[in-house]
Symmetry: C2
C-alpha cells in the first residue's frame, strides 16, 4: 500500500519553519507496513493546494495532508480539498459541537472566527481533535483515501493515532525499517566495512547517513509477512553490530544520551556535569531522557571564570596560569564536580564554541577539552573541531564526544 504525504503552509515553502510532520508521519506509516513514496510541500495558495491534492492522489492508495486548518484567513486547506474533490464546503454541526466542547474543557472563549473551522467538504467525515480547535477531515474515495490533519504536531499526532492508524493494516507485502547508530568512525570507513551489504538490489536495502559525526545505518526489508521482514532485518542488524562492534551505541533514533542513561541505570551509578562552552547542552541532553532523575544528580554551568571557582572549586590561580580553556582546568572542573556532587562520574567541558573568542593560534575557535572523572582518576581529551563547523555544531560535537567517553568507560569498566 503506497502513501503520499502533503504538507501545506507558506511557513514551510518559505523556509521559515522546518517540516517535522512529514518525517513523523513517514515513520508511523512505515511502522504500519505502508510504503511512503514522496513528500510534497506547497504554500497557502488555493490553486497550489488544490493541484497538490490532485497530484498526490494519482497512483497512490492514501494521502495524508497536514496544515491549513486553523482559524485565520490563510487557512485554505478545507476549501482547496473541496475544490479538488469537486464538492461544496458546508457548515458541520458535528465539527462546531467539537470545537465548542474543546473551548469549554479548557475554559477558553469561543470566537466567531473559530466557526470557519467547522466548515467541511461535503461527503467528508469530521475527525475529532482532542488537543486543539481544528477538526480533521477524512475522505473515503474509491481509489484513494485522504486524511487531512492539523499542522500543529501536538494535535496532529494524537489525531493520526486515534483516527488514521486503526484503519490501515494488512496490505500484501510488508516493509520494515530499522537503524543502528554509530559514533567514532568515518562514513567512508563504515561504507568499506559494509560494502558487500550495500548493493542496491539487495533485500534488506542498507543506507548510511551522517549528522554531527553520528552515523546512522538504515536497513529496509520487504517480506511476505511481518515475521519474514523482521527476520531479514534482524539478521542484517546482527551482522552490522558484529562488524562495527562497540562503535554501535544504539538503534532507531537513539542519541548517545540514551545509551549512557541505559548503562547508568543498569549499573545503578550516578553522574554530574560541569559545563562551560556547552552552556547546559550536555545536562539538557541527559535530562531529555525520561527517568533521568535516577542517575543525574546535578549540573554546574560555570560560564564565567568566577563560577568555575565558586561552583567547582577550580583554583583561581590555575585559570590564570593555564587559561580557562586548558587541560588542567578541564581536569579540575571534572574532579571538583564529582567531589561536590558526590557522584560516581562527572563530565566536564571547557572550550571555545565561537564564532568569536578564539584566543590565539594555539587556542582557536573549536578547541575543546573534555574531562571524565571517575573513582580511579580523570581522563582529559583534547578535541579540535574544524573551523568549518558552526557554534551550534561545535557544542553538539563536544557533547557527543563527552557522552561517548562515558559510554565506552561504562562498557569497559576494567580499563
Amino acid at each position: 500500500m503506497k502513501a503520499a504525504i502533503l504538507s501545506i503552509g507558506e511557513e514551510l515553502t518559505s523556509g521559515q519553519c522546518v517540516d517535522t510532520n512529514s518525517a513523523w508521519l513517514s515513520q508511523s506509516l512505515i511502522a504500519l507496513g505502508l510504503t511512503v513514496t514522496r513528500h510534497l510541500t506547497v504554500a497557502d495558495d488555493l490553486e497550489a493546494i488544490e493541484a497538490a491534492f490532485r497530484e498526490s492522489m494519482v497512483g497512490t492508495d492514501l494521502v495524508i495532508a497536514t496544515g491549513g486548518l486553523g482559524p485565520t484567513p490563510d487557512d485554505l486547506t478545507r476549501e482547496a480539498l473541496a475544490k479538488a474533490l469537486g464538492v461544496t464546503l458546508e457548515h458541520s454541526e458535528v465539527a462546531e459541537a467539537q470545537i465548542r466542547a474543546f473551548f469549554e474543557r479548557w475554559g477558553k472563549r469561543f470566537r466567531d472566527s473559530n466557526l470557519g473551522q467547522a466548515r467541511m467538504p461535503l461527503g467528508c467525515t469530521v475527525l475529532e481533535n482532542a488537543r486543539g480547535t481544528a477538526p480533521g477531515i477524512y475522505f473515503d474515495g474509491p481509489a484513494c483515501r485522504v486524511f487531512v490533519l492539523p499542522g500543529v504536531p501536538s494535535e496532529m499526532k494524537p489525531m493520526f493515532e486515534r483516527h488514521v492508524a486503526p484503519g490501515l493494516s494488512g496490505t500484501g507485502s510488508v516493509t520494515i525499517s530499522a537503524a543502528v547508530r554509530c559514533f567514532g568512525l568515518s562514513e567512508a570507513d563504515l561504507g568499506d566495512r559494509l560494502a558487500d551489504m550495500m548493493v542496491r538490489t539487495r533485500n534488506p536495502l542498507i543506507g548510511v547517513t551522517a549528522s554531527g559525526a553520528i552515523l546512522t545505518v538504515r536497513a529496509k526489508a520487504t517480506g511476505c509477512s511481518g515475521i519474514e521482514a523482521r527476520r531479514l532485518i534482524d539478521a542484517d542488524l546482527d551482522e552490522i553490530r558484529t562488524r562495527i562492534a562497540e562503535r554501535v551505541f544504539g538503534s532507531g533514533a537513539d542519541g548517545l544520551e540514551d545509551a549512557v542513561a541505559k548503562l547508568l541505570l543498569e549499573s545503578g551509578q550516578t553522574l554530574a556535569t560541569a559545563e562551560s562552552c556547552t552552556g547546559g547542552l550536555l545536562a539538557k541532553r541527559l535530562t531529555d531522557v525520561p527517568g533521568s532523575s535516577a542517575f543525574f544528580l546535578s549540573g554546574a554551568i560555570s560560564y564565567a571564570n568566577q563560577a568555575k571557582v565558586d561552583l567547582l572549586g577550580v583554583p583561581a590561580g590555575l585559570i590564570e596560569s593555564e587559561g580557562a580553556v586548558s587541560e588542567a582546568v578541564a581536569r579540575s572542573m571534572g574532579v571538583g564536580c564529582r567531589s561536590s556532587a558526590r557522584s560516581d562520574y562527572a563530565l566536564a567541558i571547557t572550550g571555545i564554541a565561537g564564532p568569536d573568542g578564539g584566543l590565539s593560534p594555539e587556542k582557536p575557535v573549536g578547541l575543546v577539552f573534555i574531562a571524565l572523572a571517575t573513582e580511579s582518576g580523570c581522563d582529559v581529551r583534547r578535541c579540535l573541531f574544524g573551523d568549518h563547523l558552526s557554534r551550534c555544531e561545535i557544542r553538539g560535537r563536544a557533547v557527543n564526544v563527552a557522552l561517548d567517553m562515558l559510554r565506552l568507560r561504562l562498557l569497559r569498566p576494567a580499563c
Copy 2:
C-alpha cells in the same frame, strides 16, 4: 524567477531524518528575490530520483537538489541526474583532485570508495566542496538550471553561498518575506486583531503559525523593486507591532532568548539560572546566543533534592514541608541562585515534566513554578501545562514562560 527544491534520501521519505535543508534553501532563495513553489522529497531509488528531476524541472527556472552525493552505494543522485539529462556519467579529474586535496588538508586517508564521488554527468560543472568530500554539480540548461549540493547541511550551505547564490539575482518582480514573533496571546485572538490585514488577495500577504505557544506572523510582499517590496513590508510590520505591542518579542526566527540577550546586553546586567525539571534547557537556550558570556554568569541544575540544598542553599526542611515542586522552593531557588552568583537577575524553574512523576491531583505532570529574582524581590508564577503536552513540550514552554517573565521585567523596569 521560480525555484523548486528536491531532497533525496531514504532517511527522509522513511522519516528517520527531518529535512532541514529545504527550509534553509527556501529562506536563502527568497532572500535573493526568487519564489519557491514546492519542495519534493524522494528516496534513494534511481528511477524515483530521475523522475523527480524531470518533474521538478517542468515550469520552473531553477532546481536545487540536495543529497545522494556520498561515497556509499546508496548515493545515486549523480547517476539519476545523468539519466534525467540523457547524458553519460564520466570520471572527472577536476573532481578527483578536489577530493584528494580535501583529504590532504584534514590529514585523512583517501579511499578508493571516494573515487565514485568524482563521477559527473557529461556537460555538467564540478562545484568545489570546501567542507567535505562530495563535490557538487551544476547543469546550465536552456530552460532550467539545476544545482546538486551535498545533503550534509554544513557542506551544503557554504557551497550554496559560494557557487549558487552569486549567479541568482535581478529577476523582474521581487518578493520579500519577514516575520514578527509574539508570546502570551492565543492564535484566534491574534487573528482577530489582524483580521483586516489577513485578506488573501492583499499585498503583503499575512499568515500566522503557532509553535510551543510562540506565534509567528509572517508577511510576504511583492514589488517591482526590492525597495518597493521592502517599503510595503515595513509598513505592515510597523502596523502589526502597534496592534500587538509588547507581546511582540522579535522578528525573523528570533527566540525569546535572543530578546532577553539583547535587553541584558543593552542594560549591561547579568543573569544566572537554577533549573530542576528543565535540566539545563534554559541555560542552553541562553548560551545558544553568541556573545552570551557577556551577561550569563552561571547555571545550577539542581536535579536531585540534595543539589538544591548544596548549590542553591534551599533549606532541606522547606523541601520536606512544601515539596520540591512548590512556590516556596521555586522562590528559595531563585533567591539563592541570585545571591550565590551575584547576578542582577536569577530565573529558577521547578516542576514535573513527566511522563512520570505526577505526585498527586494537586501536583500533576505539567505543574511548574517559575521564579524571577531581582534586587527588589522575587516573583513566582505557577503554570499548569495541560496533560496533552509531552515532556519535551512542557520543558520548552516552561523555559519560554521564564524568558518572557524576564523580558517583560526588562522592558518595564519600573514595575
